[in-house]
Subunit: 320 residues, 2 copies
Amino acid sequence: MNSKVYVGVDIGGMTVKLGIFEGEKILKQWAVPTRVKEQKIAADIAETIKDALKELEIPEENIQGIGIGVPGNARPDGFVYNASNIGWKDYDLGAEIKKDLNVPVAVGNDANLAALAEYWMGSGKAYKSFVLLTIGTGLGGGIINEGRIVNGMMGSGGEVGHMPVNPDETLVCGCGKCGCLEQYTTATAIMRMAREAIEEGKLSTAIESKTPTAKDVLDAAKAGDPLAEKVMDDFAKRMGQGMAIIASVMNPEAFLLGGGVSKAGDYLLDLIRPYYEKYLFKGCVGAEFKIAALENDAGIIGAAKLAMDSFPAGWDAVTE
Amino acid sequence: MNSKVYVGVDIGGMTVKLGIFEGEKILKQWAVPTRVKEQKIAADIAETIKDALKELEIPEENIQGIGIGVPGNARPDGFVYNASNIGWKDYDLGAEIKKDLNVPVAVGNDANLAALAEYWMGSGKAYKSFVLLTIGTGLGGGIINEGRIVNGMMGSGGEVGHMPVNPDETLVCGCGKCGCLEQYTTATAIMRMAREAIEEGKLSTAIESKTPTAKDVLDAAKAGDPLAEKVMDDFAKRMGQGMAIIASVMNPEAFLLGGGVSKAGDYLLDLIRPYYEKYLFKGCVGAEFKIAALENDAGIIGAAKLAMDSFPAGWDAVTE
């Protein structure tokens, strides 16, 4: 094959996902383990890409660029300031990759690249400016403004999970502060709030476990369970506050909700909307609420798009 | 004179400020009353610009473009969604100006244009991404991201004064909501909080008036007056929270503080900084704190820059 291709890489704590793209078409999609302890991540990425190209019979020089998403903050040129889950601090990922594979490398925050993916081929296609909120074990955020990622100074644009929405909170967040949005608006938070309510002896008609999952709580709330409804109301109140705050900063056209909790779909959007509207500045009305489309593939898709935007076709790669 | 010029216009509730610019040089700077009741604002602007050009002996066709800042939300093409202080709703300001003066018109929110002005020739020159907070009777905001204004969908980007920082507040903000940042972080708020403390019989060693001005309170706080210090501490706590929130959304390189209260300078920055750092997500550290440079001229300077960016020299004006 003589295709000009881009590679999208999404580095997670357990696996590195990869995809080889020819335009919007994914020629091959696979994953390898993230060897954090051995610190073989960059070398593994270069090697597995080489193997995949061989299999596809695409010469290495046909790679136009590699885009990589990291769970941390990074600069587009490949420098990672911090990705504590995988042990990187001030680490030049771009240079490490280039030791084994002489192609242009662009790097970004994984949540920001997920937003770029939604912009390119997901629920964000209709908008120029929107905010993706990924509600899973944590609350990730990525912001697209006029078609471009808001990276900020250190790649920490869109780190909305850690905005201080409650200065009176005494419970400590994973980040070390108190009162972060993420403490109320994740699967983890739903589980914690339900557990606390059960321990306090609050009434539940539908939850049997003493330690219900977020899905247990969501299902029970949908079924009208009072304990679960109260938990989801607390969740929705803070989510509405957080989204109204973001609206006053960015005035986006839309909010996209992704991640595991977003599978609750319209039920979730309908819970959040009244609080959002209560807290929203009237000059910032009009943003639409949507569920994100790309799920687990968002990482490699956004990473490939970052590479396409950074090293467009016809761009003459100047590599060392 | 045969200069190619731009006009910067800043529409306020009482006066319309204007400036004729040749590059960075202001050839003439003046003001006319804002005739809100008569709704003569657009016609007055066109007429006074014509008069000024005659006086400067510059032909009308030498105007490359007019930029206008409005106290409300607007689209760059000249359409004003809302500027309630001057009675505009869905008003095509650009088209109105062009009835009398056939030149390209660009319109923006006044606080956003003040930020653009700081970017061009003020305290924001050193940065690509920063946030200007104007602390006066209200809290205005303008955001520059990678050298461009964050307008958002309806020109309401940067409306940070109305972010809901306190869902438990019962006092109503001018916008009709409760718990906006602006309720704690303006000259108005400083006066209110001091008045309330005096009414509650709290101890003051330095404030004589029952209704002190913001400057009275600031001066008293600097002199160690306990009542004033407590008021400024409450102010600083919310300002720190608000700025940490903005940092988690935008990850800016700097915050610039402008407006009347910012005249307190380093004293103010030093009050805010500890709270900001307390609430700040560690991934977003590093933003500098500065006092804005341009004061009252920021409006016309930013408006002129908007026109320059919208209709660059050599741009061939297509007007109806």
